[in-house]
């Protein structure tokens, strides 16, 4: 019997150059090198992430905290609310995001790339900006409502669905759907019984990530939930910062951690079973070139495309436009620059709770340090994982942990551990960039590692046979090829740091507020001018974030175009 079917499928899967991972081949660096490279990342993550989280677990387990939490009806209610709002947010996000994914994956139209870029923007926006945008957009009586939380969650996470599902959908062989149609399946059955199941790895991955993000959502719920709609994250913050009840806070953080780890474990297993989201799950699903599978829509498909694009523009554009409008609105309903002027004039002499201009400096300084930390640690870790053999998968997994841990947990953990010698950093501003780096390292690794792994080992072999030492080889081959990915990773780290709120809320010191913290402080003060200033600062934060991402996007795009290895 022949096996053409299998051969075809293999040929259609994305090619990856063989690595030197197998058997007797000689590694290009000495065996101790990856271990040495891994020391710094392991140390950094151990001290500033594993230890703090372990401290929370220990505190939560001791003194029956968890038992008390589970016995307390009010806290049980919070756990329940956190769960169902996350489930509902996930369902709504899939409902809003899958049509967008369809349009971007399957339709050929002018401006598709631009729309793809726009669809990705909300995900990287600071939570504070999104929270304020919806405060600006929604009428007063909708503030402090579940609907506001759900809307903001959909706004954020449609980008997750698009980024996760489009890469598989655009390469899924369109003939699956065509065959199903000719066999008598109407559109909805094609979607439900053929295309949906074939996209399951990607849709499942997107749903898990969205659930994770909305389950641990902090800034959005704090700003939009009001006093009645409280999630675990917000309650942990309230217990710590307002009630100084560290025992209950630890127990709540532990409960949340258990849910997140259980979910991550379940997801990891299902990914192993189905082979991951990127390649159609390795189940012999036929993939094609994305461009060839896109068609110019006609008839009802065109109507659907227009509807989807309008949905996307409204979803993303209207809240952000409302934010800008609100920053320009004066108390009497007319428009002007009063709030913006107040930002500039509020010096030491005024009675402002925070100094807005100073917070810009704090944010930029913090981001600069966080970028350096995250990039150095992330690149070292990527090298250790890419060049190592034994232990490399474990390190890879361990470095991803912060991604699944809520920022509040990181901030809270640092707060309760960094208070004694030799690391007595209580009240030190250093903890803020460190926490940001912890959140950003996984993103740097996810950006740099795939590039290092995709480097054809023959390039290194060529360099070494020409007499280059391993170090020279790295500088001549790996570094130039990965340089752009490193820059992109650094850009992500900057975006994370400039907008980070969950961990910063715990660690920020008075007089050292970052922009997101300053915005929330301003908002909590009475007076229309303070609200206006908060809105104006949110606009500034929005502009800075989008500008950085635009640069990252351009650098990344140009890199892909020029890099022959990808």
């Amino acid at each position: 019997m022949d096996d053409h079917g299998a051969a075809l499928t293999v040929a259609a899967a994305p090619g990856r150059p063989a690595t030197t991972r197998d058997g007797g081949e000689r590694p290009w660096v000495a065996r101790w090198v990856p271990w040495a490279l891994g020391l710094v990342p392991v140390g950094f993550v151990a001290v500033f992430f594993v230890w703090p989280v372990a401290a929370i677990i220990a505190r939560g387990l001791s003194a029956g905290g968890v038992r008390d939490v589970l016995a307390d009806a009010e806290l049980r209610h919070i756990v329940w609310f956190t769960t169902w709002q996350a489930l509902l947010s996930t369902a709504l996000t899939l409902g809003a995001g899958l049509p967008v994914a369809w349009a971007l994956a399957r339709c050929r139209f002018r401006g598709r790339r631009t729309v793809t870029a726009i669809a990705g923007v909300p995900f990287v926006l600071p939570t504070v900006v999104v929270g304020l945008a919806f405060l600006a957009l929604l009428p007063e009586r909708w503030h402090a409502s579940v609907a506001a939380i759900l809307l903001a969650h959909v706004f954020f996470n449609v980008a997750v669905v698009v980024r996760t599902v489009v890469p598989l959908w655009e390469r899924l062989d369109p003939r699956y759907g065509e065959v199903a149609s000719t066999l008598g399946a109407p559109r909805w059955r094609v979607a439900a019984e053929v295309v949906g199941p074939l996209l399951r790895p990607a849709i499942g991955a997107a749903a898990s990530v969205v659930f994770l993000f909305t389950f641990t959502s902090f800034g959005v719920v704090l700003l939009l939930g009001g006093p009645t709609h409280v999630t675990l994250e917000v309650e942990i913050y309230r217990r710590t910062a307002q009630l100084l009840d560290l025992r209950t806070a630890s127990a709540l953080a532990l409960v949340q951690l258990v849910v997140v780890v259980a979910l991550a474990g379940w997801w990891g297993r299902s990914q192993r079973v189905t082979g991951g989201a990127g390649d159609g799950g390795g189940r012999g699903v036929r993939l094609v070139a994305a461009e060839g599978a896109r068609t110019r829509p006609t008839g009802r498909r065109r109507v659907a495309l227009v509807a989807v694009l309008v949905e996307l523009i409204v979803l993303i554009g209207v809240p952000l436009a409302a934010l800008v409008e609100r920053s320009l609105r004066l108390p009497d309903g007319s428009h002007g620059l009063a709030a913006w002027r107040a930002l500039g004039s509020s010096g030491a002499g005024t009675s402002r709770p925070v100094d807005p201009l100073a917070s810009i400096g704090v944010s930029l300084r913090t981001a600069a340090i966080a970028v350096v930390l995250a990039t150095v640690v992330g690149v070292l870790a990527s090298c250790a994982v890419a060049y190592g053999r034994r232990g490399a998968p474990l390190l890879d997994l361990g470095l991803m942990l912060p991604l699944g841990t809520s920022a509040v947990t990181v901030g809270f953990g640092l707060l309760i551990t960094m208070d004694r010698a030799p690391l007595d950093l209580r009240g030190s501003w250093v903890l803020v960039p460190v926490a940001h780096a912890i959140v950003a390292i996984p993103l740097v690794v996810r950006t740099v590692l795939p590039v290092l792994r995709s480097i054809d080992p023959r390039l290194r072999e060529a360099a070494m046979t020409l007499g280059a030492s391993p170090a020279r080889t790295w500088a001549a081959v790996d570094l130039p090829l990965a340089r752009r990915a490193i820059a992109v990773g650094a850009g992500f780290a900057f975006a994370v740091s400039i907008g980070e709120f969950g961990a910063t809320a715990f660690l920020s010191r008075s007089g050292h507020e970052t922009m997101p913290v300053a915005i929330v402080r301003l908002l909590s003060r009475p007076g229309a001018l303070n609200v206006g200033m908060a809105m104006a600062m949110a606009v500034m934060l929005l502009v800075v974030t989008v500008a950085v991402l635009l640069v990252v996007e351009l650098a990344g795009g140009a890199g892909r175009a020029r890099d022959p290895l990808r």
Partner: protein
């Protein structure tokens, strides 16, 4: 019961792929469509299947224009070069797919699937996973799947092209016998004249 194609024109941008093609296929007739790659053979099948809207011309069934008939009600069976079996369903469920769409009762469905699998030479393959099939077996399953809802016309797009020579000859003979036995109306696209001779009643050339 005749399929007639009248003045079909299909353009892809500046390139005219089909330029005023007309033909008729009588009931139970197997027509081979020969031609070099890129001559519009597959395009013709996609138009007949309803997957592609032509720039001009019409596809008629007993004189009635199919233009407004939605894809899933056209009653065509489609077999591609490489099967395109649903990888998330086993062989039996692949063959039963069209029957389920017609809401045929479960017991009847099982009997029909078993009959079709026997017909294509794969008796007892119901529970096999698609990934375990060889190329030849996959094509047989694809054929059974396309035949199951009893299409008015079967569209075969180089169904044997991905197989090696030996297997291709054997399968071509099997296919010819099967189509005769069932009296199926079919358009059979190929680039191999010998294969067209073996399977089709008559052959047209494109390009």
């Amino acid at each position: 019961m005749t399929l007639s194609i009248e003045g079909l024109v299909v353009r892809f941008g500046p390139r005219t792929v089909l330029d005023g093609l007309s033909m008729t296929v009588a009931d139970g007739e197997v027509v081979g469509v020969l031609g070099p790659s890129g001559c519009g053979k597959s395009t013709l099948l996609r138009v007949v299947a309803g997957l592609l809207v032509p720039d001009a011309g019409a596809v008629r069934w007993d004189g009635a224009d199919l233009e407004s008939v939605p894809l899933h009600r056209r009653g065509v069976g489609l077999v591609f070069q490489d099967g395109v079996l649903f990888p998330h369903r086993d062989v039996g469920a692949n063959v039963a797919f069209g029957l389920r769409m017609q809401r045929s009762p479960k017991a009847e469905r099982a009997a029909e699937v078993s009959r079709l699998l026997t017909l294509v030479g794969l008796p007892g393959y119901e529970r096999r996973a698609v990934a375990t099939l060889s190329g030849g077996e996959a094509q047989r399953v694809a054929l059974a799947r396309a035949l199951a809802p009893r299409p008015r016309v079967l569209l075969l797009d180089e169904p044997l092209a991905s197989l090696d020579l030996d297997l291709r000859r054997r399968l071509a003979a099997d296919l010819a016998t099967l189509l005769r036995t069932l009296g199926t109306t079919a358009l059979f696209v190929t680039h191999d004249p010998a294969e067209a001779d073996a399977v089709a009643d008559r052959t047209i050339r494109l390009g």
